[in-house]
Structures are given as structure tokens and as C-alpha cells.
Amino acid sequence: MAKDLLEYIEFSTLECLNEAPNHGATLALKQGYREQDELYLESDTDEQLLLNIRFTHRVRIQSIVIKAIDEAKAPKRVKLYTNRPSLGFSDTSSVPCAQEIELSPAQLAKGDPISLKLVKFNNVDVLSIFIEDNQGGEETTKLCKIALFGTTGEVFNVAEIKKVGEEK
């Protein structure tokens, strides 16, 4: 039942700290851009990246996909924070994260969805993805796709109600 949450991402307020000028977050998130491996998100000054994604609705996030083809520069430790608007790099050490993920090269190459702890990601307005370091300890981190899967909280689907009525 999990669907792609791309349509609920508010791109106007999307913020990615430490992204390189021509390799921004939209290249990893947006439909079309993310499918192309040549269009990637890369970090700038150092290997860390901090993505603040705001959603138009409250969502329940069930899994996340991160794909990176450059093995050495692919992200390794990723921390996810929920509902902390404008998180900064200095906050990442003090604020408790909702979930910490360590990515393996296999997951990154194929872009496997990684399931998240449902309880923590139940009512998310703002998701912050903090990429702490990369696989090879390189100076910059590169990734080509980030996708989020889940459901929107209070969606009242009238069509479904009708079906139940008919069954009865």
C-alpha cells in the first residue's frame, strides 16, 4: 500500500545544506532527474549533507530508497530526523534522531527500499536526512536517487467506502 511520496514533497521550501552548486537535491528527488544516474546530488565543502524536506500533508513514511553508483562516495551513515524545521549541522549532534541507518554497498547500488520504524515516522511534516559520511571516506558524497514511500495520514477515500457497501 505504500506509494511514492514525491507528490507530497514541497519543493519550494526544499533545503539542502552543503550541496554543490550544480548538483542539488532536486536532481536526486525529482521525477525524471532521479532516474538518471548522471544527474546526482553531491556535497560541497565536506562529505556531509543535510536535506530538509517539508511535506504538503502529514505523511507516514514506511521506507526510503537511496541509490548511489559511485561506490566510494556513496553515503554510509544516514540519520533521519522528523518534525524539526530548519535543522542545522550543529543540531545533529544534540538532537536525537528518529532512526539511524548504515547503508551497505549492495543496497546503494540496487536502490533497495529500507524499511523504517513505523512508530517514529507516523505523522511527519518535515523530514531531515543527515548524511554523516561516505563509504570510502572521500571528500565529497554523491548519490543519484532518494525516494520515499509511505501513505498520507488522513486521506478519506470515498470510493473505498462504496465498495464495502456493495459487498454487503
Binding site: S12, T13, N18, P21, T45, Q48, G88, F89
Partner: protein, 392 residues
């Protein structure tokens, strides 16, 4: 839309008089102008002030949209000690981090007129941290340019991301504020420095000063504002066209409409006598509308000034020549009142006005209005002589 923290060099070096009257005073003037330009550029922009010298750097004004606070605090700064650029910048970054409106972009403007004591590596490290946190930095170097040039250039290169940061070096001689106004530090706001200095009325000036984009940097930073401005400009144009079309159709009803539209446009008062003046005010009303309400591109700003001048002229002419004109009007009272509504439309196609004539409810008011029309037509019409003959 930005949140700017200005770092001021109030070290002993700023007592130097190589920039008139002192480095410190020149700096203060520049800061005042800069704060004004930033707040004019966007209604929600905030500016904060921090002093770099003394025992510790101190934030004198936390980022605020209130220009008055900034100007006020500039008068109370004392010259003391030596600058500490690194801790000042870090404190500025902290102030920006805790800004009220998280949608604002972050910017630090540093004024340096004393030798920078930190070494290049430390500055570059700080710069990288700023860049990582999406903070843009503008540096104004004056007074100790040669010593600082290399360090500041390295700093700028490290902090610059896609041209958002600038370094301006001002040699002694020219006025600091003048050099800055024409530099990229002010120009980054779309030349609103000029709008602030010479605009007619605050709104018209601030809105009309932006040359780079239509209505200012709206599409990038504030799409809703851009849309609202465009829509209101369209509405204003429509209203002008409708008003002109209504005036051209020589019908009393059309003119009454025009009076109502004009009255609402200028928020006219209730009294009929005053409404006569308001009627005249309504004629430049639709024209002044764009300047007051929506954004005004350069051409409209000229019209505003003209319109206001003419309104003032009309009013003063009415007061001055009231006696003389009253005699004229009284002599041909009945003749004037009826031709006035009909000749007025003949006159209007020549100028972007709505000829306003109140329904003949009160003869006295009618006379005032008629002589007002005469005064307006006399002062504004190129084809004046012909029309005057028509009326007489």
C-alpha cells in the same frame, strides 16, 4: 528575502580620518543606507547589528524589520579595542540561525577597517563552515586594504557559492556610502537603493526601484507576491481603460460611475464640498493607483509625480482664483453647468483622466466643480485654447 547581520568595526583604527569625517562615521552612514535598502527591498527582510571590537563582540540589535531600531543603535556605538573577526562571524552565524522567519536567506555583511589578526587558514575554515550552512557573506574592506586584501580574498573565495558573496575594497578618497551604493552589495537587491533614495512615496519608491526583474526579485523568492502584484496591476489597467471608455461616452450616468470609482480609488471623504476636491483627486487617482497599490515600473512613477503635482496645482488654483473664477462661473452659471459635463468628455481623450462631475444637486458645489474643471483643463490641456472657447 533575507536576514542580514551587519558586523561593524568599532576598533581604535576606526578613529582615523582618511575617510571623511572618520572611518567610523563613514561606516555608520553606509550601514544606515544598507539597512534602509534591505528593508525597502522586501517588507519582511530583517537586519541586525553586531559590533566586532571591545571586550567581546556584542549583538546590539537582533535581526528586525524595524529600520528605526537599527538607526537608533548606530548612534550609541562607542569606539573601543580591537576587532575579533572570527568570533564576531561565529556570533553572527548564531544570530542568523535563530532568526524568526526560517524562510529568509542568511547573509552577513562585514565592515573591516583594521588589520585582520586571524591567519588565512583560520579564516578559510570559518568561511567553509559558513558556506556549508548556506550563509552568504559581503565584505567591505576600507582603511587597511593592502594588509587584508589577501586574507579577505581567500575568505571570500571559500565562502562564495554561485556568486552570492562579494568583496568590495574602497580606497581612501571617495565617499564610502557612494561607492557602496553602486556596488554589488546594494545592487544585489535589484537597485532598490535608488528606489529608496528618490521614490515618490515609500511604496512607489520601493516597488518601482527594482530594475532587474519585473516587480523586483519576486519570481525567485516570492511567487505569491509576484502573482498578487501582477494581478493588481492588471486590475488597475482594466480600471483605467474602463474609466477612459466611460468618460468618452458622454453620459451623466457614466460620469457618476466614474465619480464613484474615483472616489473609492482615493478613499474620498463624505462631505459633498470635499467630494468636489476628491473628484479632482480621483482624476489622478487611477493613475496614481499603480504607484500606491501594485508595483510601478519606471514610466508609471513619472505619471504619479505629474498627477500629484497637478492635483496640488488644481487645489491651489482653486483656492487662489476662487474669487475671480466664482465671478466668471456665476455670470454664466447655468450655461457652464450644462456644457461642462458634455465638454469634459471631449477634453478627456487628450489626457488619461476621468472627467468627474457630480449630479447637479447643489449649485454651489457645481460652481466649485466647474471652476475646478476649468483650472485643470487650463493647466493641463495642450489644446487648451480651443476648449476654453468652447466652454465660454
Amino acid at each position: 528575502m533575507e536576514c542580514t547581520v551587519v558586523c561593524i568595526d568599532n576598533s581604535e583604527f576606526s578613529r582615523d580620518g582618511d575617510y571623511a569625517p572618520t572611518r567610523f562615521q563613514a561606516q555608520a552612514d553606509a550601514v544606515n543606507l544598507l539597512a534602509g535598502a534591505k528593508t525597502q527591498a522586501h517588507p519582511e527582510a530583517t537586519v541586525g547589528v553586531l559590533t566586532m571590537s571591545g571586550k567581546t563582540p556584542r549583538v546590539l540589535v537582533t535581526p528586525t524589520p524595524d529600520l528605526g531600531k537599527v538607526l537608533n543603535c548606530m548612534t550609541n556605538i562607542e569606539i573601543d579595542g580591537e576587532c575579533n573577526v572570527s568570533s564576531s562571524v561565529q556570533i553572527a552565524q548564531l544570530a542568523l540561525k535563530h532568526r524568526q522567519n526560517k524562510n529568509q536567506r542568511q547573509r552577513i555583511v562585514i565592515f573591516v577597517c583594521s588589520p585582520v589578526t586571524e591567519d588565512k587558514e583560520k579564516l578559510v575554515k570559518i568561511a567553509k563552515k559558513l558556506k556549508k550552512n548556506n550563509v552568504a557573506v559581503d565584505v567591505v574592506s576600507f582603511g587597511a586594504e593592502e594588509e587584508n586584501q589577501e586574507k579577505l580574498e581567500a575568505f571570500l573565495e571559500a565562502v562564495n557559492s554561485n556568486g552570492n558573496s562579494h568583496l568590495v575594497t574602497v580606497p581612501p578618497g571617495p565617499v564610502l556610502s557612494d561607492v557602496l551604493i553602486s556596488s554589488s552589495i546594494f545592487q544585489g537587491e535589484g537597485g532598490s537603493g535608488f528606489g529608496f533614495a528618490g521614490g515618490v512615496g515609500g511604496a512607489g519608491g520601493g516597488a518601482g526601484g527594482a530594475d532587474g526583474f519585473e516587480f523586483g526579485v519576486d519570481p525567485n523568492m516570492d511567487p505569491e507576491l509576484a502573482l498578487a502584484l501582477r494581478v493588481s496591476l492588471e486590475e488597475e489597467r482594466d480600471r483605467q481603460n474602463r474609466a477612459a471608455a466611460a468618460a468618452a461616452a458622454a453620459a451623466g450616468a457614466a460620469q457618476a460611475e466614474g465619480a464613484a470609482a474615483g472616489a473609492s480609488a482615493s478613499a474620498a471623504e463624505g462631505a459633498t464640498a470635499v467630494a468636489g476636491i476628491a473628484g479632482a483627486a480621483a482624476t489622478p487617482g487611477p493613475v496614481a493607483g499603480p504607484g500606491v497599490g501594485a508595483a510601478a515600473v519606471g514610466g508609471d512613477m513619472d505619471l504619479d509625480e505629474d498627477a500629484l503635482l497637478q492635483q496640488a496645482l488644481a487645489m491651489s488654483m482653486e483656492i487662489d482664483s476662487a474669487a475671480a473664477a466664482a465671478q466668471q462661473a456665476a455670470a454664466a452659471a447655468t450655461d457652464v453647468t450644462t456644457p461642462a459635463p458634455t465638454t469634459a468628455p471631449v477634453v478627456t481623450p487628450g489626457a488619461p483622466q476621468v472627467a468627474v462631475a457630480l449630479p447637479p444637486a447643489d449649485l454651489d458645489v457645481m460652481d466649485e466643480d466647474a471652476e475646478l474643471q476649468l483650472a485643470l483643463q487650463l493647466s493641463m490641456q495642450d489644446s487648451g485654447p480651443d476648449n476654453k472657447e468652447d466652454q465660454k
